[in-house]
Every structure is written in structure tokens, then in C-alpha cells.
Symmetry: C2
Subunit: 401 residues, 2 copies
């Protein structure tokens, strides 16, 4: 008996890899500031639980495979308010954004097919692609450029006869980068010229701090080739609901996505009931959340830039910053913080950035910081990070001297 190569080669999630060390530290009574995971801390709108309680019915039966019609309507209304025209029948409710990714990848790629993706990128892309036998071809971006896109040629020279799609996250995870109109134009032109699908992951849409968010679906000339991945997890602080969506205006693609939805029968009923009721959330909810995160971003960037040797640009969106640290091996440093360092009984947990890169050796001195903590906690966490770096680097000098 041997297990499949597709699963043996799936790496462990880098965001959770250090969790055993964190659990151990917690057992010794230490406080850990979690800067490692993109779990928003703002309260979920209370409408969600009310919606769940709206369920009447003796039997908890299957929902329709594409989702409850009321929820598809709620999603359609949400998009219309943002000038993204999507009819309910152009949408599918999915088990979180993750399943929307799974269905998109399955629909456009056979085993051995390729997708181009700007690097660094969200780790689940690699995990899912690997499980499906799909090759991700990274297009490098750099901290010095704020992870904005390289020129056309960097994409073009990576396109092969097996390239099927461009995969982009906007606003970006782990980078927080929001693409300019020019960058979006370029991606659209690339997709058209090389006849590629465009899988656009826009789950951080509500978290843009400079200018306005543009969706790829605002380009009507790209409608036939776009698969739009979305989720309520981040925008409503409701990661635990696992309610995502997959939108597509091309009926030929949609027909295939519906077949994939049938293979898993339905999405959970209670969570769909809750998500329907989120439509009643006061209209200033997003605005308030956006202001809150913007403040946190500014605190975090200022804090990081005040630490000697740390480098980062100010990201335009999401709630992540990818920063370069003055260390050789950020994973070793992150592990050390959990095992050997604390300030007033507290330490910080970071996500080493190497897990967001596919190119060997890249991102070794970088970490992703998720600013999903209250302001005073962020200030504390940044102070711990600063002092931790000082002690870690002195320690290294001492032990190597």
C-alpha cells in the first residue's frame, strides 16, 4: 500500500506549522499575540446568529446544490451595490473561499496543466493545486516594489502550451498589495492575448485603504474568462461560517461548476441562514471596519519601520504586511520567539514567509504580520518583536563569537 504522490507532496500549512510550539508556550502560562493568522477579531454582526435561529422546519434537509436562492439574491444585491453586475444564477454558494478555489482549479486545469501566480501567494493555492496535480508557476514580486507586478515580459516568458490561467489575489494575501488600474489592465490583456482564464480572489475587497477597490468583473471584456472567488469570512469577521461564493458570467463554465457543486450535494443550511441575515447589517459596518484596520495598518507600519533593520512598504489593503527582518532565517527566529523569548510573560507568533513562496530560498528573511489585534495589543506585540530581534541578534553574535 502506498499513498498518493499528490497527497504526500502537499506541504503542511506554514501558517499553522509553529502551532505546537505556541500550544506548549500557552501551557506554561505565557501570553501569545497572534500575528500569524488572518482571523479577524472584530465581532461578527449579530444578525448572523439571529438568521440561524430563523430556521423553521422539522427536517434539516439538503439545500439546493448551488445554494439557498435567498442567499444567492443577497450576494447578487451586495455586488450590485458595488457596481459588479452578477445575477443570482451567476453565483454559487461554496464551503468557504477554499471550495471556490477547488472548483475553479478543477474546472480549468487537468493534471499537469499550469497556472501563473504572482509570488508570494496564499499558501492554500499551492496546497490545493498540488492535491489536484496542477503546476503553479510563480512570477516573482519584491518587497522593495511593495509587491507590485513586474513587467509584461516576466509573465509572457513563463507561458507554455500548458498554461491555462492567471491566478491573482486582489487585495493581496500575504502582501496587502492592491493592484493599480494599470496592473489590472495588463493582467486582462495577458489573459486575452494568451487565451487564459483569470481566477480572481477578491475576498479582501472591503479592506482597501487608498482609493477604491476595483473588481476584475468591472471589465466586461473579460467576463467570458473570469472566475471570481469570494467569501464572507473576512468582510463579516465570520471565518467559522465557511460561506464563500464563486461567480462566473460565462454559462459554459458555470454549467461545469454546477456539476462539481452536485458532487458534494450542498453547503450547510444553518450557516446559509446566518449569511442571509447578514444582509441586514447596518451600511456603515464596512466603513467602520475599514477605518479600524486602516488605523492598525498605520500603527503596524510605523512600528515596524522604527525597528532597526526591518524593511516594509505600506500596503494598500487586506490586513497583512510582509516585512523583511534583519535575520538570516525568519522561521528559526519565529520558533525562538515561541520557545525562548518573552517580555513580561508575553511573546508574539509570526508566520514565516518562506511558506508563501514556491521558489526555493525565497522569503527566508521575511514574515507575514496579520494586524488583527486591538491597537494596544498591536503596540505591545510590536515592542516585543523589537526587543526580541535585539536579543536574538545579540545572542547569535555571542554564540558565534
Amino acid at each position: 500500500m502506498r499513498l498518493s504522490q499528490r497527497v504526500l507532496t502537499v506541504p503542511e500549512s506554514p501558517i499553522r506549522k509553529l502551532t505546537p510550539l505556541a500550544d506548549k508556550a500557552k501551557k506554561t502560562g505565557r501570553r501569545i499575540y497572534h500575528l500569524n493568522i488572518g482571523q479577524p477579531d472584530l465581532p461578527t454582526p449579530e444578525g448572523f446568529l439571529k438568521g440561524v435561529k430563523n430556521f423553521r422546519g422539522e427536517v434539516l434537509s439538503y439545500c439546493p446544490s448551488p445554494g439557498l436562492p435567498e442567499l444567492l439574491q443577497v450576494f447578487s444585491d451586495y455586488y450590485r451595490q458595488r457596481e459588479i453586475p452578477l445575477a443570482p444564477e451567476e453565483l454559487l454558494v461554496t464551503n468557504g473561499g477554499s471550495e471556490a478555489l477547488l472548483f475553479s482549479f478543477m474546472a480549468v486545469c487537468d493534471p499537469g496543466d499550469e497556472m501563473l501566480v504572482p509570488e508570494p501567494f496564499y499558501t492554500s493555492y499551492y496546497l490545493i493545486a498540488r492535491a489536484l496535480g496542477i503546476k503553479l508557476c510563480p512570477v516573482p514580486t519584491f518587497v522593495e516594489d511593495g509587491f507590485h507586478l513586474p513587467a509584461w515580459g516576466e509573465f509572457e516568458r513563463r507561458i507554455t502550451p500548458r498554461t491555462r490561467a492567471l491566478l491573482v489575489t486582489n487585495p493581496g494575501n500575504p502582501t496587502g498589495t492592491v493592484y493599480t488600474r494599470e496592473e489590472m489592465n495588463m493582467l486582462g490583456e495577458l489573459a486575452k492575448k494568451f487565451n487564459l482564464f483569470l481566477i480572481a480572489d477578491e475576498v479582501y475587497r472591503e479592506f482597501v485603504y487608498e482609493g477604491e477597490h476595483k473588481s476584475f468583473l468591472e471589465y466586461s471584456t473579460l467576463w467570458d474568462r473570469i472566475l471570481l472567488v469570494d467569501s464572507i469570512s473576512k468582510r463579516f469577521s465570520a471565518c467559522g461560517a465557511r460561506i464563500g461564493s464563486l461567480a462566473c458570467k460565462n454559462p459554459i463554465i458555470r454549467k461545469q461548476l454546477h456539476k462539481l457543486a452536485e458532487t458534494r450535494l450542498a453547503v450547510a443550511m444553518m450557516e446559509q441562514m446566518g449569511a442571509i441575515a447578514l444582509a441586514e447589517t447596518p451600511s456603515d459596518y464596512f466603513q467602520r471596519a475599514n477605518l479600524e484596520y486602516k488605523r492598525r495598518r498605520d500603527i503596524t507600519v510605523a512600528g515596524l519601520q522604527s525597528i532597526p533593520g526591518v524593511y516594509c512598504r505600506r500596503p494598500e489593503g487586506a490586513f497583512y504586511i510582509l516585512a523583511r527582518l534583519p535575520v538570516v532565517d525568519a522561521e528559526d527566529f519565529a520558533a525562538w520567539l515561541l520557545q525562548d523569548f518573552y517580555l513580561d510573560g508575553a511573546t508574539v507568533m509570526l508566520a514565516p514567509a518562506n511558506g508563501f513562496y514556491l521558489t526555493p530560498g525565497k522569503g527566508k528573511d521575511e514574515v507575514r504580520i496579520a494586524y488583527v489585534l486591538k491597537e494596544e495589543d498591536l503596540v505591545d506585540a510590536l515592542a516585543i518583536l523589537k526587543e526580541g530581534l535585539r536579543v536574538y541578534n545579540n545572542r547569535s553574535t555571542a554564540s558565534s563569537g
Copy 2:
């Protein structure tokens, strides 16, 4: 742009294929008895909704990838009461039985690998395998044998160097067949001799009407190779919750399953809270449900056997009967019932059995009947079926004469 072969070749679900015709009939005010879908009609225990309301917390955050520890404990307790030893850490909570199948298939098969499966079988097996590039190799069983297994040789001669697993459903869907101890012994010996995994789908465990259900996990000599697929959908009449589980006693396999669970982050929180509370369901719940379905089975079998030309054996479990009808094309007959036939304003919806066979031409004159209706409705539905067959066959004679 071309879509993937893996998705283009996924067929539509045969259980839902005729749904547009049914929707049309309902719009004209006709009543439809749904014998086509295995959606139990018994009330979901009310503990479920109470459990959902137990959620306290401001933020609906991610559950742990393997599931909430309390739910894993509840599942472990459930199995222990049935003499199936499974520790909480040997279990994963999944998005319905469907995801447990997806993870199992992914873990043991690369694209091009093969699994043997007694035919007819649950359609989702084929849909999921196709999407993953896995080949299902059907081992034929027959209505005359009550769909019990053929001899060893029929399995052995289908094993190739690419065969990775045996995939079995016990009790069976669409057959209702419960394997004897001897059949289970044979499958276990086959798995050992040819070094195969054994994927055992036991979601109908509580619905055995003759003797006692045996789980494959009762064979400790098979522990290293079993992946046990399960779900609360059928046993608690809670299909809409999408709560399943995947059990495995082999830690090497389990490590890989955990990585797959991480790719989709978590299962929905509300539904897990509900499922935890199902542990409080009175202990006679299963017994009462079992008696109810047994009565329905007997009514359905008697009703079917009283119709001239219909052939079926009495199945030992689940809530399905696969019957042979006196028609050439059961799909045509099922469509005709929805479009052109009604008795006192009502008709029946059947699942044509060809969708449960992979071998071309097989099952054309068979249908699957799910006895998930109240007794009086079952009696009505069977009377409509009887009269429908008479009219349909006279019509055929008339139009061909």
C-alpha cells in the same frame, strides 16, 4: 480557453437529472411523491437546533481543521457504544460524507490509479473519482442475487498494478444490501492479499433490518488499511447539516488526511455545535427510526412485488430498493411519469438506475426507490406506479401497433 477534461467528463447527477421536469409539474399544481432522493423525512432531533444556540462568542472564528474536540469526542463515544474502537484523534470532521470520500480518494489514488467497486454504486463515487482522474473498475452484482457479491475471482481478475483500493458501501446505496460476515471476510482477505486500501462507506449503519450491522473496523487485522466514511445525515435525518466524518486507525495515513483538512481550513461552526448536542438524543431514537423504516421497507417490497412484471428482492438495510421494471427504458418511463401521467393530480418521481452503473447498457430497466415517505404516502405512490406502468405499457403497444 478550454475547460478541463476532468470536469467535462463528469456526468450530471442522475438522482437530480429529472428535477426540471418535476419543477414544471409542480408549477401546474401536481403533487409529486419523491421516491428519487434519499432525503429522510423523519424529524431531525430537536437537540440539533438547541446545540446551535449554545454558541457563545463574539467572533465566529475558524474551528480547528480536524473538527471541534467536543464533536470528535461525541463521535468517538458513538462508535465505542457500537464496539468500534476509535479515539477522538483517529477521527476527522468533514463537510458531509462527500468530503470524507474526496479526502479518501485523494489520499490513496493518483490520476490514472484504479479502485474496484461493486456495481451498482452511489453515483457520487463516480463524480468525485472522475474529477480526480481516478478510474473506477466496477464488479457486477445482480438484482437476482439481491446484489450480493460475486465470487473472489470476479474481483481478482479486475486487479491491475494500478489498483489501489476496494470501495464498498455497507449497507448499500442504491441496493439496500447488507453484506454477510462471509462477504466481509472475503473483501478483507482480498485487501490483504493484494495490498489494497479498503474505503468503507457505512453511512447507513443504523438502518439494518435483519441481524446486526458489522463495521469493517471490527476487523483489527484490517486497521492499517481502512478509511471509514461516515455522516450524521442519514442516522439523524440531518442531511442539510453537511457533517460527516472520516476515521482511520493508521497514523501514517491520518497525517496525510490532516494535511488535506488544512487545505480547506475548517468545517462550519454552527453545524458542529448542533452535531455535538445530538449526543443527547434519547437512546431509543435509532431503534424507533429503524422500526419505522423496516415497516416502510416491507410495505414497499410487498407493493412492488404485487405489480405485474416488477422484480426485486427484499433488501436488508438502508432505505433503498433497486427494482427491475417491465419497461425497456426506465429513464423514459420516469420522465413520462412526470410529464404525462397523474392519478388524482399526483405522480411519482423515480431515480432511473442507469446512473448507478458505469457499465454501458446496465440498469436500463431498473429504478431506485427511496422509501422515505410516510406509510400512507408510500401506499399512494406505489398505487400510482402500478397504474402508471399499466398505462405506459398499453400506450407503447398502441403506438407501436
